[in-house]
Symmetry: C2
């Protein structure tokens, strides 16, 4: 969102190590909650929830609008955005699943989510690649998950089937993840950091027998080997993960 | 929303009997989906999802703003609105529960939802009764559920405990449901129509041994007796329900 607006430098980023207890300065700002991201405004107010923060940035930096301004177009955008929560939940439930027998049903559930996106895109933007002329609000909302869900490609061998009912959403995903404003994260980083999610441990929690979370800052993910792809049959040690 | 804007007459309402298959004219408009409400715009576009429709009405009738216009105030409103989906889901899961043993956990879950609202209201609007000066966007989003959840009062003996941690949200709920713009629905109507939800049948589905759904238009709910409160121990017949 900030890159699209040419405002990346107007917000100071602090990356938080989620494998450690939240520092006091952060807990004071959040009044005790641990969910991230949060945004501190210039006058010291704290905002929570990614979509709330996105809307705030859209409102305080209105010069290059990312969201639609026409009421009907905005409603179309909002109908697509509405699907983000279930889409996101489904992907996280799947990557964290540890029961091999449940895998097929989770794949089917994930495909259903993509099919819903496909339908809505076909109905409102059949030619594509984006919902409207440019990478906009809906793309800003979904792209982080399209990139995050590289963990499904890697740990669950998930790929969108080469079928007509996913053709339009495939075009959208490809256009989103290759857009110049969306190059902050790589598949390698996602796959290495999210190994512990693939083994069922979220939010920097520590798995049995391990001393380090895959989310740790040290050693840096670039210095580690790619984790084993087999999440159901094998539990990697710290050493195997280069931790 | 329309009443707040003095625009109730600008939208034609058609109430749909959800106990029957959706009529063809409706399915043509929705392209086959059955979820309601939908809104047809003046130029024939179809919008789905309540919050999308609310935002569209806010945008096309901007003269009496209901949502906040200042970016920070709007973000506060959006943080509260963000809680609506889980709040709503929790209430529906509880009313549809048929397992007496699960009831206490569901009550605890519902109370947690109210406690979250209480915290956010205390943080941003400690004096009340509304989030800002007047009944606004957050109130328009939550009030229908505060009224709908009268089914929990009736079928689950739910009431907010008289404790400090619910005091602010109780004040909010009271101010919302007694507001002049929120008088389209009564507790009696909610309780009578939602009897079948309380017995586990949603969306106008028919329960075993019954010929009529409690959502039917005929006989009118006003002509029926109040349903039995005991949802776990007894299944009322059509006759008992005045159907």
């Amino acid at each position: 969102m900030l890159t699209l607006k040419g405002r990346r430098g107007d917000v100071e980023f602090r990356v938080v190590d989620i494998t450690r207890p939240r520092p006091d300065w952060l807990l004071q700002k959040t009044r005790g909650t641990t969910a991230l991201p949060i945004l501190e405004t210039a006058d010291g107010h704290i905002l929570k929830e990614s979509l709330v923060i996105l809307q705030y940035l859209e409102d305080v930096f209105p010069e290059r609008p990312v969201a639609q301004r026409d009421p009907y177009r905005r409603a179309v955008e909002n109908m697509l955005t509405w699907l983000e929560r279930e889409f996101c939940t489904q992907g996280y439930i799947w990557v964290m699943n540890q029961d091999l027998a449940g895998r097929d049903a989770l794949r089917v559930g994930m495909l259903k989510q993509y099919a819903r996106l496909n339908e809505l895109l076909l109905e409102h933007a059949s030619s594509g690649p984006f919902l409207f002329e440019q990478f906009g609000w809906a793309e800003a909302v979904f792209t982080p998950f399209f990139m995050r869900f590289w963990f499904l490609d890697y740990y669950e061998d998930f790929e969108l089937p080469n079928e007509e009912k996913y053709a339009r959403v495939r075009q959208w995903v490809d256009a989103c993840v290759t857009h110049p404003a969306a190059q902050q994260v790589t598949k390698e980083e996602v796959v290495k950091l999210y190994y512990d999610y693939a083994k069922g441990a979220g939010n920097g929690a520590l798995l049995p027998g391990r001393r380090q979370s895959s989310f740790t800052f040290e050693p840096d993910w670039r210095a580690r080997p790619w984790p084993p792809k087999d999440k159901y049959g094998h539990s990697a040690t710290d050493e195997e993960l280069g931790l």
